[in-house]
C-alpha cells in the first residue's frame, strides 16, 4: 500500500503531461507493473518512506516487474515459480511469444532476508524440460539446478521442489540450466535479492532491480529467435524497451541503490547514469569493501554477472540512464541497408517512383528523425527509435530509461520535470554572442 502511494508521485495533472496514456502509461499498465503513470497523484510527491522488508531496509522494486509472493509455513518461506509460454509486450506496438516465470519476463524477483529457509516449487509448463539454477547463491550441490549434473531435468507438466537457506546476502539471479540458449533467449531470467539481516553501510531509501537482456525479434515476427548469435535488435531493461520502460522515481538527497543483472546471451552492457556519480558496492560475489569502491558514471555489467551501484541524486530533474553501446539504444533498427548519408537522390527518387511509387529515399541526412516518420511499417514492429518527451521526440530506444529525481514533496510539476527559468539550453542570442566575441556568418 505504501508503495502504491509512492508511485502516485506521477500526476493528477497528467492531462497536461507530454507522456500520453497511449505510450508510456499503457505500456506500463500492460506490463503488469505498478500503477500506470497517468493514475498517479502528483500532489503527493515522493513519499519519505518506502515499504520496508526489515526495519532498516526497503523492499526492492522491480520496474515493469513484480516480486514473488512468499508464504511463511513454519520457519520456511514458500514460493512457486511456473515456467510457461505467454505473450509479452516489449513496448506498445511490439509483442512476442516469450518464455518466462509466472507469465512474466523477467520472472518475479525473489526477495529474501539473509538466513531464511526458502522452498521454491518449480512447475514446468513448457514444451521441453527445464531446471532452475540459482546463480550466485551458495547452496547444497543438489539444489544447483544443472540438468544432468546435479539433477534430472524437470519434465514438462511436472513440479520439482528446491529448498535451501539464503546464507549470504547479495544480488543474484535465476535462470534455466537446461537448453539455456533457447530458454534464456526467450526470456527465462529473474533476479534474486537477499537482504542482510542488518543493513550494511549507509542506509538506502530506494532499492531497484534491473535485468538487462538482448533479443532477436525480426520486424513483423512474433517470436524471438533463440538461434541468433550476433545480431540482436531488441535491447531491454526488465524485458522492456524504451519507450516501454518504466521510469525510476526517487527523491533528491535520498540514497538510491540499483542492482543490475545481465543474462543477455552475448553482450555486456556499460550502463551510464546522467547527473549522478555512483559507487559500485557489490557484485554477485559479495560486497566490495568501501576502500575498493571507485567512483563512476558508467558501470559495465558483464554477461552472467550482477553489479550493485549506490548514489545520492543531488539535482532534481529527469535524468537519462542507458547502455552506452549506441546500438543498444535502438529498437529493431535495420543494419542491412546501404549507408545513405550524404547522398543526392533526386534523380534516383524520380526513377524509383516509376518502378515503385511508394518509394522514398530515407536517411540521406542522418537517421535522427526516423522515429517521427509516419510511413506504413510491418505490423508488430518498433523499428524507429524513441518516444515523446517534453521537448520533442526522445531519440533513443532499447536500453534507455529515466531517473525521475524530485524534491519531496513535489510541487505540482506534472509528469515531466519542470525546469526553473533560465536553466534549459536554448537558441543563442546574437547580440550576446557578439558581446562574448563569437563571430557568426
Amino acid at each position: 500500500m505504501d508503495r502504491r502511494r509512492f508511485i502516485k508521485a506521477g500526476s493528477m495533472l497528467a492531462a497536461g503531461a507530454v507522456l500520453t496514456k497511449s505510450t508510456l502509461a499503457r505500456a506500463q499498465d500492460e506490463a503488469g507493473g505498478p500503477e500506470p503513470l497517468g493514475d498517479r497523484d502528483a500532489a503527493e510527491g515522493v513519499p519519505s518512506r518506502a515499504p520496508r522488508i526489515t526495519n532498516e531496509q526497503p523492499h526492492v522494486l522491480t520496474p515493469n516487474g513484480a516480486t514473488l509472493p512468499l508464504r511463511t509455513v513454519g520457519n520456511v518461506r514458500v514460493g512457486h515459480l511456473i515456467a510457461s509460454s505467454f505473450e509479452h509486450e516489449f513496448a506498445p506496438g511490439l509483442k512476442a511469444q516469450c518464455w518466462g516465470y509466472n507469465h512474466r519476463t523477467p520472472g518475479p524477483t525473489l526477495e529474501a532476508v539473509e538466513g531464511e529457509r526458502l522452498r521454491i516449487y518449480v512447475t514446468n509448463r513448457l514444451s521441453e524440460p527445464t531446471t532452475v539454477h540459482w546463480h550466485g547463491v551458495i547452496l547444497p550441490n543438489g539444489m544447483d539446478g544443472v540438468a544432468g549434473l546435479t539433477q534430472r531435468a524437470i519434465p514438462p507438466g511436472e513440479t520439482f521442489m528446491y529448498e535451501f537457506t539464503a546464507r549470504y546476502p547479495g544480488t543474484f539471479m535465476y535462470h534455466p540450466h537446461f537448453d539455456e540458449m533457447t530458454q534464456i533467449a526467450l526470456g527465462m531470467t529473474g533476479m534474486i535479492v537477499v537482504h542482510p539481516r542488518r543493513a550494511r553501510g549507509p542506509r538506502v531509501q530506494r532499492d531497484f532491480v534491473l535485468m538487462t537482456h538482448e533479443w532477436r525479434l525480426d520486424v513483423g515476427a512474433r517470436r524471438p529467435d533463440p538461434l541468433e548469435m550476433t545480431d540482436f535488435n531488441v535491447l531491454t531493461f526488465n524485458s522492456r524497451t524504451f519507450p516501454g520502460t518504466e521510469p525510476l522515481l526517487m527523491g533528491r538527497g535520498e540514497r538510491v541503490r540499483i542492482r543490475f543483472g545481465n543474462l543477455s546471451p552475448m553482450s555486456h552492457h556499460p550502463i551510464h547514469l546522467h547527473g549522478m556519480s555512483f559507487a559500485t558496492t557489490a557484485t554477485d560475489g559479495g560486497y566490495i569493501p568501501r576502500s575498493a569502491q571507485v567512483p563512476n558514471t558508467t558501470v559495465l555489467v558483464p554477461v552472467g554477472s550482477t553489479r550493485v551501484i549506490e548514489f545520492v541524486p543531488e539535482q532534481s530533474g529527469d535524468w537519462a540512464m542507458h547502455c552506452h553501446m549506441t546500438h543498444h539504444v535502438m529498437t529493431q533498427m535495420g543494419h542491412g541497408i546501404p549507408n545513405m548519408i550524404g547522398t543526392q537522390t533526386s534523380d534516383l527518387d524520380t526513377r524509383m517512383r516509376r518502378i515503385e511509387p511508394r518509394y522514398m529515399t530515407m536517411a540521406q541526412d542522418g537517421m535522427g528523425s526516423m522515429g517521427e516518420m509516419k510511413m506504413p511499417i510491418p505490423k508488430n514492429s518498433l523499428p524507429m527509435r524513441g518516444g515523446p518527451g517534453p521537448f520533442g521526440n526522445i531519440d533513443m530506444g532499447g536500453m534507455f530509461t529515466i531517473l525521475k529525481v524530485r524534491d519531496s514533496p513535489m510541487k505540482g510539476t506534472g509528469l515531466w520535470y519542470s525546469h526553473p527559468q533560465g536553466t534549459v539550453a536554448g537558441p543563442a542570442d546574437a547580440s550576446q554572442m557578439r558581446a562574448d566575441g563569437i563571430e557568426t556568418t
Partner: protein, 467 residues
C-alpha cells in the same frame, strides 16, 4: 446418240459456272463468312480499299483474321487454283472431236477422197470421266477450306504473339528502369563516398546488360509484326497499325472444352472429308479405266470419193461409203493402269485411316494443351503474380522500417517483373492453344509450334547487391 450428246453439253455448261460458286462453297465449309471473292479476271497488286479502313482502328484478333481473308495473297492464289480442278473436270467432260481427212489421189481413178471419223467409245466415256473428276473438284474446295482455316489459326497465333511481344517489351522497359535506378543509387552512393568504385562498376554492368534484353525484345516485337504483315499481305504505310491492348486475361473458372472432343474433331474434319473426295475420285477414275478397258475402241467413219471425170463412165462423180474400226480388247484391257489406280486408292485409303488416328490424337492433345495452358496461365494470373505483389508490398514495409535498402526494393521489383514476364508467356500459351482448338473444331488439326523467346534476365547479379 443425240440425247447422250445433249447430256454431255449440259454437263459441260454446269461445270463452267464461275469461281464465285467455289468460293461460296469454301466460305461455307470453313465457316469464314468474311472470306472475300477474288475478282474473276484481273489480279490487282493493290490491297482492297476496305483494308485501309480496318487498319485505321486498333487491330484485334478478329479483325486481323478478316484482313488476312481479304488480303492474303497465298489464299487468293489457292482460291484461283480451284480453277485448275474445275478446268480438269471441264476437260474430262468434253466430247471427242470428229476427225476429218481429205486425200488427193491423182494416181488412182478418183480425184479426191473425204473421210470423217468419230470416236464413239470416247464420246460414250466422256460423262463417266466427267463424273470421275467431280469429287476432285470437291476435294480442291475442301483443300482450300483447310487453307482458310489454317490461315485463320496462323493469323490468330501471330496476332497473339504480337500482343505478347508488346507486353514483354513494356515489362522489359520497367526492368531496365529498375537496373537504371540501381545504377543511379550506386552513383549517388559513390558520389557521397559511401561505396567502392567496385560496387558502382558492378551496377553499371548490370544496367548495360539489361539494355541488351530490351534491344532483343524490340527486335522480337518487330519480327512478330513482320510475320503478321506477311500473313495479312500488308506493306508500305499499311504497316503502321496498332494493337488492341495486351493479351486478354484467361477466362475464370475451368476451361470449357466440348465433350467428346475426338468425335467432334472427326465429325468436323475438313481434311478427312477432303481425303474421302480424293478417294472417290480415284475410285471413279479406276472405274472409268476398267470400263474403258473392257470396251472395244469403236470408231465409225463415213467417206466420200470423187472420181476423175475423164476416166469414169458414170456421170455421178461422188461416191459414198462408211466403215467401223474397233479394237478387240483381248490383251490390253488397261489392266496395268487399273492396277496403278487401284494401288493409289489403297495407299490413300491407308493414309485416310492414319489421318483419322492422327486427328483423334491431336484432338486429345489440343484439349490437354488448352487445359494445361489454362491452368498455368490462371495460376500465374490469380496466384503467382498476386503473391509476388504481396512480396513487394512486404519489402516496401520492411524498407520503410529500414530493415532492407534500396537495392532490396529493386531486387523485389525485378522479381515481380520477371514473374509478370513469365505470366505473359503463360497467357500466350493459353491463347495459342485456344486458337488451335478453334481450328480443330473448324475442321483442321494444326500442329502447335513452340515459342522461342528469350525473356529472362536472370543473369547472376547476386554479387552486385552485396557490399
Amino acid at each position: 446418240m443425240a440425247a447422250a450428246l445433249g447430256g454431255m453439253v449440259m454437263n459441260a455448261a454446269c461445270v463452267s459456272s464461275s469461281i464465285r460458286s467455289d468460293t461460296d462453297r469454301v466460305r461455307e465449309l470453313s465457316r469464314m463468312e468474311h472470306l472475300a471473292d477474288v475478282p474473276e479476271s484481273e489480279v490487282d497488286p493493290v490491297s482492297s480499299p476496305e483494308v485501309g479502313a480496318m487498319l485505321s482502328k486498333p487491330l484485334t484478333a478478329k479483325s486481323a483474321v478478316k484482313l488476312a481473308l481479304l488480303n492474303n495473297r497465298e489464299l487468293r492464289a489457292k482460291l484461283r487454283m480451284m480453277g485448275v480442278s474445275r478446268g480438269r473436270l471441264k476437260q474430262a467432260g468434253l466430247l471427242p472431236n470428229p476427225e476429218a481427212e481429205i486425200e488427193l489421189l491423182p494416181e488412182q481413178d478418183s480425184d479426191i477422197e473425204l473421210r470423217l471419223e468419230y470416236d464413239i467409245t470416247g464420246a460414250l466415256l466422256a460423262p463417266m470421266r466427267s463424273r470421275a473428276f467431280e469429287p476432285a473438284l470437291d476435294a480442291a474446295r475442301y483443300e482450300t477450306a483447310i487453307a482458310v482455316v489454317e490461315l485463320g489459326y496462323m493469323v490468330r497465333v501471330q496476332f497473339y504473339r504480337v500482343q505478347a511481344q508488346e507486353a514483354r517489351l513494356a515489362i522489359a522497359q520497367q526492368m531496365l528502369d529498375a537496373y537504371a535506378a540501381g545504377r543511379e543509387a550506386a552513383i549517388a552512393l559513390r558520389k557521397a563516398g559511401n561505396v567502392r568504385e567496385l560496387d558502382l562498376a558492378q551496377h553499371e554492368v548490370a544496367y548495360e546488360k539489361a539494355r541488351i534484353l530490351v534491344a532483343e525484345l524490340e527486335l522480337g516485337r518487330m519480327n512478330a509484326r513482320e510475320a503478321l504483315h506477311r500473313l495479312l499481305g500488308l506493306y508500305g504505310p499499311e504497316t503502321a497499325w496498332s494493337v488492341q491492348g495486351y493479351l486478354d486475361p484467361v477466362p475464370a473458372g475451368t476451361v470449357s472444352v466440348p465433350e467428346h472432343i475426338e468425335t467432334q474433331a472427326l465429325k468436323h474434319s475438313l481434311e478427312l472429308t477432303q481425303r474421302r473426295h480424293e478417294l472417290e475420285s480415284l475410285a471413279r477414275r479406276a472405274g472409268v479405266k476398267d470400263t474403258a478397258g473392257w470396251l472395244p475402241d469403236v470408231a465409225v467413219d463415213v467417206h466420200a470419193l470423187k472420181s476423175d471425170a475423164e476416166s469414169t463412165p458414170v456421170r455421178e462423180s461422188w461416191r459414198f461409203g462408211a466403215g467401223v474400226r474397233f479394237s478387240v480388247p483381248i490383251f490390253d484391257r488397261s489392266q496395268g493402269e487399273v492396277l496403278e489406280l487401284e494401288s493409289k486408292f489403297s495407299a490413300q485409303l491407308e493414309r485416310y485411316y492414319g489421318l483419322a488416328v492422327d486427328v483423334r490424337s491431336m484432338a486429345r492433345q489440343a484439349r490437354a494443351e488448352l487445359e494445361s495452358a489454362h491452368a498455368r496461365a490462371a495460376q500465374y494470373l490469380r496466384v503467382i503474380v498476386p503473391a509476388q505483389r504481396r512480396v513487394t508490398d512486404q519489402v516496401m514495409l520492411q524498407y520503410n522500417a529500414m530493415q532492407v535498402g534500396v537495392f532490396d526494393v529493386l531486387r523485389a521489383s525485378r522479381e515481380r517483373l520477371q514473374v509478370e514476364l513469365d505470366s505473359v508467356d503463360a497467357q500466350l500459351a493459353y491463347w495459342k492453344a485456344h486458337a488451335a482448338l478453334r481450328a480443330l473444331l473448324a475442321g483442321v488439326a494444326v500442329a502447335q509450334p513452340s515459342e522461342e523467346v528469350a525473356t529472362s534476365v536472370s543473369f547472376s547479379d547476386e554479387r552486385v547487391e552485396e557490399h
